[in-house]
Symmetry: D2
Subunit: 365 residues, 4 copies
């Protein structure tokens, strides 16, 4: 029951979809660090639902009100608290929501966990809306990383069975990652946009939804970030990624595919180039022994189809303990993958920032 993460860059998130608001407290931002609020807003907007037909019709400006921790554009060193007030909510009578169990959602698990006291309105604390604070925090982490020459970016690797190209794991550039930020439907192979959107539209027309895969990378990460075992970059990043609702799989480098290789193929050969050690391939996604090796960090996250669909589904009434047929009404994304891209980036940015700071703690002498 922990809304806290991080030993160095410490994040607390809070909020419920239709309550007073959502937000976060971040402790550990270096004092004096210039916070670019416009850049934060830029990334927040990438997550926000909008006019894109793949997204829910609910419009949330997601304006973050800074309560503390920033003065004259710089971090004060004290905890930063930011709040996004909930507006445009239509709660209605929610007493009946408690007993209505939506398949694929947290409704049943949450009902049992919280003895029926969890806020059922709009999914409450389980809402995907709570990823907005992750993006906010990730955007600050991103700015800190930028000073270290690190860039994080991601693209839609798949929508349902339709796949985009993969990142070039060896020659990936910061510019290529940055270019993806401005795309509402970020792809490496632009030709896939039409069939992918058609796949999503077809799902919506059938009152259904679809999932996908996001590929995310970071360039400019020096070797030596992360630790063996519980602070491996993979562990910390996966911890954050699996905190994102709907993520059901995470892989680094070749991931599941590496299990089909032989070591003679998957061991990335090492060479000296321009006085630096490089690998001529990157099956390990820039991480060996839990620690970065200087190659681009690459991961993929599998996103399940949004469980909220209008189709009638088999469910139960948890009060009467009887079977029931359930049709969910309301505003839902037929595919959250495009909006989730910046969330996945934020998780990687947070993990890198955490472990860079962790590394600094032991290098003070």
């Amino acid at each position: 029951m922990s809304a806290n993460f991080g030993r160095q860059f410490r994040l607390s998130i809070f909020g419920e979809s239709h309550g007073g608001g959502i937000g976060m407290v971040i402790d550990g931002i270096p004092a004096g660090f210039p916070i670019d609020e416009d850049a934060i807003a830029y990334h927040m907007a990438r997550r926000a639902p909008g006019n894109d037909p793949t997204a829910t019709a609910r419009k949330e400006p997601d304006r973050v009100k800074i309560v503390s921790g920033i003065l004259d554009g710089h971090a004060t060193g004290a905890p930063l608290c930011g709040i996004i007030e909930n507006t445009n909510t239509r709660s209605g009578d929610y007493a009946q929501l408690r007993s209505r169990i939506r398949p694929g959602h947290a409704d049943y698990a949450g009902f049992v966990k919280y003895n029926g006291y969890n806020d059922p309105r709009g999914g409450g604390h389980f809402s995907g809306r709570i990823t907005a604070p992750l993006v906010f925090a990730g955007s600050i982490a991103r700015q800190i990383l930028q000073k270290q020459g690190i860039t994080v970016g991601a693209h839609i690797a798949a929508i349902g069975p339709l796949c985009d190209s993969r990142f070039d794991p060896v020659n990936l550039t910061a510019d290529a990652l940055t270019a993806l930020h401005s795309l509402r439907f970020p792809l490496l192979n632009a030709d896939m946009e039409t069939p992918m959107r058609a796949h999503i539209d077809a799902a919506r027309m059938r009152q259904d939804s679809t999932g996908g895969v996001i590929e995310c990378a970071a360039t400019g990460v020096r070797a030596g970030v992360g630790s063996p075992f519980f602070d491996s970059l993979e562990s910390v990043t996966a911890h954050l990624l699996f905190s994102v609702p709907a993520v059901k799989g995470v892989e680094f480098g070749d991931g599941f595919a590496i299990s089909q290789l032989h070591s003679s193929e998957s061991n990335d050969p090492m060479r000296v180039a321009d006085g630096h050690v490089i690998c001529t391939s990157n099956h390990n996604g820039g991480i060996t022994g839990g620690i970065t090796n200087g190659m681009p960090v690459i991961l993929r996250a599998a996103i399940k189809p949004t469980p909220s669909i209008s189709r009638t589904q088999q469910s139960v009434n948890i009060e009467t303990m009887e079977n029931t047929d359930l049709a969910i009404t309301g505003r839902h994304d037929p595919c959250i993958v495009p909006r989730a891209v910046v969330v996945i980036e934020s998780a990687l940015a947070l993990a890198l920032c955490e472990l860079l700071m962790d590394d600094a703690a032991t290098h003070f002498i």
Copy 2:
């Protein structure tokens, strides 16, 4: 740089492959809990290298000497420390090991991280041998889970491209899981053992190694274990799984495959049966919103091929910063997947134990 994990069931691991020994400290075992040391030894033996031709020739009894925390067979409530002394080590002159960078290993990343001071003998703290303490701790977690009616088990889901059957995600039983424990090469479909072993043998003959996938499950887990966001069962389990050297991918339920479904397929329909809420399918692997829903918990972990191979590989000398050809000698597993099965089980057992205890902390009133 953290060798600590857990807020409730707190584990510290330590040790280097060819140093004085390896071990762990566990804090949080309920006082008076009967510790079955034979059962621990049973699971430790499953990980230990032995006569099985898939494993390294190095024979380690992995006998754990209990230093504290157990008296007359019961946990005292004080921290349990156990040590496995390193024996049968052949270190030789290791000064030159520091500069010898093995591709696919942590050697280069570790050299940079630790400024060349990490113990290079046998991989030091990066050695797969450090998973023995994980199995020890996991075996105690398993005993605690057993009292709650929870059973954890796993099988080899794939060796290279050769796949075993999958667990029946709905009707999986504790007996089926327990039966797997006693198999040195645990499979659901025994017919796959011969071709899989042949695949491993072929790799060894070519001085190569191969990877695979492990599928792991827990039965008897009540609904309500885990939390949204940073204490999701997926987050905590994946954190531990990615701490295991060689794991490059983790997925729950249908995992990456769920991203290709529509929600109408992946939403597990819910029904009332015998007064309980059940799902008639289990695409979500027993977890929604980060919390268990009462169905079997199911995950898969991708294991990369052991990077230690005798073939000549392209590498660098980190002292002279020159390219070099490297041939690794010594005793190596051509496939660690069979030995890793119990390690993966241990990670899931530790995560479940942690989150069950976490749940108990808020139910005291």
Copy 3:
């Protein structure tokens, strides 16, 4: 740089005296727990400055706006965020505040720590105002403790050299503690109020301030709460107490005076009474080995004189690095001891709640 405390009852505090607001996030409140907001407001009012002549003239209603975590009067199980907006602030031009170093304050230490970027207005994050969130969180902890039959209360043990009576460490009752809550100047010996107030008034007339001691106790605490070493009740409580600005000393039971005794005096004799084990004296303040023994828990905290005084003091200008004479203007308490009583109580309540929950985590089987 941590604004987080607690493993079970997890508190994050934030805010700066003259920024957007102050507040806290609490994670770990049992779902369904009824939150009595009036009772919280009651204790918040005890800390708030008011008409009492010992307090600053600044009037702050300290109304907490609940952002999340409470629905229909019950904890939802999700993190509770509450905000107190800052009003009635007179910031003026604060650029010059940065260079003005107030002796006895955090100004210089904070300037160095935060490279001059900390919010200097009203002390920023160092303000005593940030104890309001501690009282809020402590008030919820208090409600949880109440269900366990535990009562926390405190009195002014000394103002300057003038001492109140001490708690009867053996026969202290919950009623005696509760009775103290309603007193604006809580004393055991009411006769001391007049001389103590005179002492404070005299200090104010001299543009000076005075310190004091607060004695705090908890009754109804069963034996077995706390742990040896780092989770000793004394460690956890003292950690919180020394987080309160102005606390410079903490002692449990006889505290410093016990060091002058012989063991034959300080060892509390044990007897069986009505089937329970009791002590016939309580020199140890209800704690042995870091764990409660069933006797009243008793501690004292030393509060230094408020450093903000109008008298001219010797100081430095940190920009010009020159000596300067400083006269602080503004609204200041000549003695914060009366207002700090509820803050000290809150720290003890938080520590007891944390360790009760910690104990529950290991008693689930």
Copy 4:
């Protein structure tokens, strides 16, 4: 129930007085840091019981066997585990020990906490012997601090009612602190040794014991170490100090005495001297707002009389729940204050090291 402390310099301690051994795991030592094992042994010997008549007759060499984390005299960056094997133990039949409750000890509190399963031999995990790992860890922290120009030292401030002089809080030097290390009965005023030893002897002759106070200081600490609230240097240090068995009071600077001053007396005036900011007095013990201000850090800890005495005491039999008279036999210190001096120093060293590393984590950019 936590044997873990620290976010940066992470310490796990374990062990029971008469079990297999005691020890610690330290994670976070900078890789490559040269570990001076002789210097560690020097400080360990200061704590060890010896021929000094104030100490127990039990002779423990306290030789620490390094299991991991050091290679060729340098920290490897992996967790350091060290074990002190228990020898010279006389356990005998300990079943009866469980029911024998020693007044002033943790026996009763521990029995309840651990349901009677705690190791009762020699106090088990409650033994003062478990402070040896604290001294070990503190000795490494001390070496790290030394590189920053920081020296920690302490003296006996009081034995019973007999007081030594106090540190000069303004002009204290590193040499003065270092000189104390070599004294078996460290005092500033050597004339007090005879009466103090006489006081201890008198207690022993009466089969009794006596307490005292230890004053501890650190010089060379730059301004800016520590944080407001939960990472205040006072909070972190007091947390560790109250983990030390027998500590019942902790104060910084003038501590309890500051509560009797006016602010015009206790506010340390600030001046510029040689281009640095200094205070001309040090009532605050070098800490304001939880952060060091560059003046010597000064604290005192009150030590209660050792509860183990041979005199007959009133107690209970916890099995039969009857009153009983108890006479404790065995080897006991009539006064542990001299041996505790290095333990108190170790706690301060650990806290300073933790917060210096914490500070470094946010200064990486």
